[in-house]
Every structure is written in structure tokens, then in C-alpha cells.
């Protein structure tokens, strides 16, 4: 048996290198149906400049993407966004996907998931719903999402179980809610979630803008991990608890996306195909678009998907590193964000000359007053993900990127 969700299983695929013949098919299609979202979460991974990009594929275009991805071999399909429920053709897309043989995952805030839509999604064959919470308390949930949605989400969770869906609760963790991990787990147990995904914030997109606000202290993380371990022992057979470690606290980088162009294929609302949902921010790459390029050409033959496959693209210290097959140099987006060059080693690695940057940032966060237990500090500005901030943050410094992406999408 091979667990293809685990790093080891795809090592051979990733190590197969530059030869298209050796490139394994995609397993995971993430369909970001829309950037529209009723929530305004401070750690949203959508591009900070999303407001510049309003175009959305229509139903027929999405169905074509689903068919092509399934033909390539993708088995997992995530409907995401933004909030996928903003699309009124979601049920139709789920039905097509299920018919094609995808395992269909709806990744949602729950806003708009009425009883009627739950029924329709059940009829369409939806396999599973991942519902996000921001915290176990109304106060913090509503603050972090800049909405009053906590009670609604609770009702939605009940509806999901009532309709017999397997449910994964997802909660993004950071300085403010790490002390509530026990309550978050209790909430997941009470709601009957099969899995609980406790995902420490990864610092891209909006979370990167807000990282001084969000980064936890080391001791908060250790305390939370101990709580998670305790619940795994006592309740592990009722609810599987995943704890995604925040890589800023590590000395070796994560094997990001299990390798660039190795298993993951993301399609943005406008049809831009991405090897990682954060990759849009990378300069110098022209990402192909599903409206004018066949998915097989995108996956096997496009420059963007081949750029960081294998090991040829690596610089030192990765190139001669005896661990390069383990982590593949880490995350390209993080390398770019922190060093300005996506081909550098991910600075999470302590062999990277830029690693000190992360160490210092973590130290600053640890020494800063956090107010973690008395509400939220206002020492630094916090950017909620909304249209006004998206336009503000994408001023002159970001225009080139945004324009390139838009041009790429249309060309």
C-alpha cells in the first residue's frame, strides 16, 4: 500500500526529473471557483491583489477542466475559492465531478450552506465538506473573519452532519487562538467532525502581510502541541487530529506541495493554472490558462510547470545538499518572498544564508507583547482581506506583477 498523501510516496514522481515521460500525473485538482468571499480573514491565502482579477470561468469551461483533469488521472477534487458557494452552479459541477469519479471535497466557510443547498449537494454526490472555523469563541471568530458568522457556522455544522456528510473542521492557528486549542478540539468533538485540521498559519498572501500580528511564540506552540497529543491519545479513534507545524519554527523546510508540478494542479477563478495556490505571486513565470491551453500541455509541457521540477534548477546550498531529495529545497514562494529569488533555498532551512532572517523574526515575535489572552493587540496594523485593502496593498510596487498575471491570463 502506498499512501500518496505522504511525502515518501511521491518521492519517485518528484525525483523523476525533467523528462515529461517521467512526470507523474496530477492527483489533486483544486478548483478555485471564485475569489468572491463573504469573509475577510486576516490569514487568507488568496493573492493580495485578488481585487484586480474579477474574471471567472463559466460552467462549461469548468466542466471542461474537470474532464481534462480526470482524464490525466486526478482523483481528488477540491472546490474552493474565495467561497465556492458564491457560485450557483456548484451543485452542477459537483454532479459532473462525481460522475467522472472524483472524490469531491467542498472547502467552505459555510456561509450560504443552507439546508436546501446541502440537500442538493448530497443529491449531486458530494463526498465531503471541510468547514472552516476561526476560533472556538464567537468573539475571536468574528473578529478574525471581520464578520458575525460564528453562530451561523455552528448551525451549518449541525446541518452538515444531519445530511450525513463526513466533515472535516479546519481551523487556522496563530498567536490569538493557539491558547484555545483545547476548546477548538472540544468543539470539533461536539460537532461530530471526523477529522480536525489544525493548520498553523503559513505566511503567504494576506498572512504574510499580517505576519507580525499572527506569528506565535515558541512556548504557545509547544503548549498547543502537548494538548493535541493528549487528545489524540484519549479521542484519536473518534476524531483524527492533524496539526500542521508552522515552518518558521523549523530548521528544515517543508516538502512544499510534495514537489512543484508533482501532484497538485490548481486552477484560479480566471482559469490560470498553478502548481501551488500561492505561486501566482512569483515573478518571471507566465502561468498558462485553461481557456486556451489543454490541461495535458499545461501539466506536462508548460514552462511554468516544468520550471522547478527535478533538481536542475537548484542553486547552492540545495544543489549539492544530500537532503535535497527529502524536501526538494522547500517552498518556492517562500524563497521568493524572503530572498527575492524563487530558485534559492527556502530560508526555513538553516543551511540557507537567509535563515537568520526567520530566526530574528521569530525572536522579535516572542519578545513582543502579544496580549494573547486579553483580546487582540493593536500595536501593528492588521489587514483584513477585503477589496479596499486589496487595492490599497497593490499600489505601484505590486502593479507589475498584477499586470503580468492579467496579461498572462489573456494571452
Amino acid at each position: 500500500m502506498t499512501d500518496l498523501a505522504s511525502p515518501a510516496a511521491v518521492a519517485s514522481a518528484a525525483a523523476a526529473g525533467m523528462q515529461p515521460a517521467g512526470v507523474a500525473p496530477p492527483l489533486w485538482l483544486l478548483a478555485e471557483l471564485t475569489y468572491r468571499c463573504p469573509l475577510h480573514c486576516v490569514f487568507c491565502y488568496n493573492p493580495v491583489d485578488y481585487a484586480k482579477n474579477r474574471q471567472e470561468l463559466d460552467t462549461a469551461q469548468w466542466i471542461k477542466v474537470l474532464r481534462e483533469a480526470r482524464a490525466l488521472g486526478a482523483a481528488q477534487l477540491g472546490f474552493s475559492g474565495g467561497e465556492p458557494l458564491m457560485r450557483d452552479d456548484l451543485e452542477e459541477l459537483v454532479a459532473v465531478a462525481r460522475e467522472l469519479g472524483f472524490y469531491t471535497n467542498l472547502i467552505t466557510s459555510g456561509i450560504g450552506l443552507t439546508d436546501a443547498r446541502l440537500s442538493a449537494l448530497k443529491d449531486a454526490g458530494l463526498d465531503h465538506i471541510q468547514l472552516s472555523f476561526q476560533d472556538s469563541t464567537q468573539e475571536l471568530n468574528d473578529f478574525l473573519s471581520s464578520t458575525r458568522t460564528f453562530d451561523l457556522k455552528r448551525r451549518v455544522a449541525e446541518g452538515i452532519k444531519r445530511h450525513g456528510f463526513p466533515m472535516v473542521l479546519n481551523c487556522v492557528l496563530h498567536r490569538y487562538n493557539l491558547p484555545h486549542v483545547d476548546k477548538i478540539i472540544e468543539m470539533a468533538l461536539a460537532m461530530g467532525a471526523e477529522y480536525l485540521e489544525l493548520a498553523n498559519t503559513q505566511y503567504y498572501g494576506w498572512a504574510y502581510k499580517n505576519r507580525a500580528q499572527l506569528l506565535p511564540r515558541q512556548e504557545q506552540l509547544e503548549a498547543a502541541e502537548a494538548v493535541v497529543e493528549r487528545y489524540r491519545q484519549s479521542h484519536g479513534d473518534r476524531c483524527r487530529i492533524f496539526f500542521v507545524v508552522p515552518d518558521y519554527f523549523e530548521r528544515r523546510p517543508k516538502r512544499c506541495m510534495n514537489g512543484w508540478g508533482a501532484v497538485f494542479l490548481g486552477v484560479a477563478p480566471d482559469g490560470t493554472a498553478l502548481p501551488c495556490h500561492a505561486a501566482r505571486s512569483l515573478p518571471g513565470l507566465s502561468f498558462p490558462n485553461v481557456t486556451d491551453t489543454a490541461l495535458a500541455d499545461i501539466w506536462y509541457r508548460s514552462d511554468a510547470f516544468n520550471r522547478f521540477r527535478g533538481f536542475e534548477w537548484m542553486k547552492e546550498p540545495c544543489r549539492s545538499c544530500d537532503e535535497k531529495a527529502n524536501d526538494l529545497g522547500g517552498c518556492r514562494c517562500q524563497a521568493y518572498l524572503l530572498t527575492g529569488d524563487a530558485a534559492n533555498a527556502d530560508p526555513v532551512c538553516d543551511k540557507s544564508p537567509a535563515h537568520e532572517q526567520i530566526v530574528q523574526f521569530v525572536e522579535r515575535a516572542s519578545s513582543a507583547e502579544t496580549g494573547a489572552d486579553n483580546g487582540v493587540t493593536t500595536q501593528q496594523p492588521i489587514f483584513f482581506r477585503n477589496d479596499a485593502n486589496s487595492r490599497k496593498l497593490c499600489g505601484p510596487a505590486h502593479d507589475t506583477n498584477a499586470q503580468r498575471n492579467e496579461a498572462g491570463a489573456k494571452s
Binding site: 502506498t2 481528488q76 471541510q130 471526523e194
Partner: protein, 96 residues
């Protein structure tokens, strides 16, 4: 470590193993194998694992399951192997 005796999920004498609803077993041409799909994940199964799991539908106990496999594949003496796999599948949370 805490005991987990509150849920006696193992070793009931006449248990009828069944795949938990969160999992779906299907043939994947691209993998040339049966796979087990679950939220955001996939496990590629070898042939014997697939043949056992296909029969974990809550209608047969382990003895019946073993008998059926032995009949279908014209073999004998696989009970130990089947029970070991079922224990593993239970540990991984695939079956109840």
C-alpha cells in the same frame, strides 16, 4: 498514556467489518490499482488489500469474509493474513 477502553472497537467476536463512510474504494486506471479515497488523500492498495476491503461492507463477519476469499481465489490458509490486514485497517481508521 490514557487508556482508550471507552470504545471497544476491536475484537468483538462476530464483528462485521465495514468501510467507514468517509472512504471510497475505487479502481483508478491512472494508478493501475484500486485506491482508497478520503478527504484530500488517497491510498494506493495492493491487490489483496483491495480484495479484502471490497468485502468490508458490514454484511459478513471475518470468518465469512475469509471463506469467500478462499473460494474466489481457490486458496486456503489466508485467515492470519486477512486478520492482520483488518487489524491494520482498523488502526488506520479505515474500517469500523
Amino acid at each position: 498514556m490514557n487508556a482508550t477502553s471507552h470504545e471497544p472497537s476491536t475484537a468483538a467476536p462476530a464483528e462485521r467489518p465495514s468501510l467507514k463512510p468517509i472512504f471510497r474504494l475505487q479502481w483508478e486506471p491512472a494508478q493501475n490499482a484500486h485506491v482508497l479515497l478520503y478527504p484530500e488523500g488517497m491510498v494506493k492498495l495492493n491487490q489483496s488489500a483491495a480484495e479484502i476491503l471490497k468485502r468490508c461492507d458490514g454484511t459478513r463477519d471475518v470468518d465469512a469474509l475469509v471463506a469467500e476469499l478462499e473460494r474466489t481465489f481457490e486458496t486456503t490458509g489466508i485467515e492470519t493474513e486477512v486478520r492482520a490486514f483488518l487489524a491494520e485497517a482498523r488502526t488506520r481508521g479505515w474500517i469500523a
